[in-house]
Amino acid sequence: SSGINAEYGEFQTFQHYLIQINLRMNCPDTFEHFLLHGDEKKITVVPDTKVPNAASFTLNKEDHTLGNLIREQLLHEPHVVFAGYKVPHPLVAEVVIRVQTDGEISPQNAFSSALTDLISEVCLLEERYKAALRDKRDLNN
């Protein structure tokens, strides 16, 4: 393999350098879908200025897997008047979840209890799966 070019670093010619620049600009790395870089925040809370008791939660490096999940659980929570989510742009791994409550609890509390409920649901599912697996194995044996 050729050595390091004095002018363009690892690229052999200016043309190679340009091609690489273009490739890198048009095609982001796939790890951008999930890797949170040093200065980025995972979750940002922005209270809504136009209506009372509403806030938007921006989840960074997430997709419909969590967005839809949390939104649906929020709709089960009491005192939640509005819950919706969107992925603002398909090329950017971000989810915005908007929550509005009737005032009894804050949107942050609703979001927090939705997360707790989801965690307990998945834990229960895991337990029941392990039990079902054990029963199936005993049946097979």
Partner: protein
Amino acid sequence: MPYANQPTLKILELTDENIKFIIEKTDLAVANSLRRVFIAEVCTLAIDWVQIQQNTSVLIDEFLSHRMGLIPLTSDEIVDQLQNFRDCSCVDYCRECSVELTLDVRCNEETPRHVTTRDLISSNLKCIPVTSKVRDHETHGDGSPDDILICKLRKGQHLKMKMYARKGFSKEHNKWSPCSAVGFEYDPDNALRHTTYPMASEWPKSDYSELEEEQSQAVYEVYGKPEKFWYNIESIGSLKPENIVLTGLQVLKKKLMDLQNHFNNEIAKEALYIG
């Protein structure tokens, strides 16, 4: 807690390649998120770094590297023991975060030599190509060993490379996906009318249909909601199907818990600013 669903799970069928199960009393979003996690976020092992030392075959280096990446490697025992490549304290690759594999084949006979996954030598016997799991005297059913063909060499051609396999998941590259297919079904008789058939009688009935012979669709349930979900997870061989489901559930739990931690920190920080 009182507003959380209490889902039930029943396993219908469990084989070496497939697992069929039903989840009931939960939401469509939960079922779909699980499906997405099974496909995209369960970790397996796959070759991610290839150094080609000799390649006089007819296929170019990049072509061969791409093929090596797609080879399924047994990941059941080892994927939990390996560290994440990005978190590991080493500079490039080490024993803690990766498995080294080598391939060194030279064709010396007149007849073309097929380079297959049987020629791949792994430094860790827990991580071998899935097709090599079957021992030499056993076969894959039709009498011939099913090893994956990498390349064909003519007399005098030589292929030699060194590779590192690391763990990852399908969001980064599909070679890390443990599932070849995830069958997902709900409302087999279209009682919720989520699909609109121009002529329902044209369509074959689902395996889980509970309709009579003459009926083509169930009666419309206006206030119905999807509640029962049928899964059929087919594994590539890198992970056992029951492990795919178990790991998927754990991954979803971890995602939610990490998000909760970040959220609590964020709320605490805001409280500090206000106060």
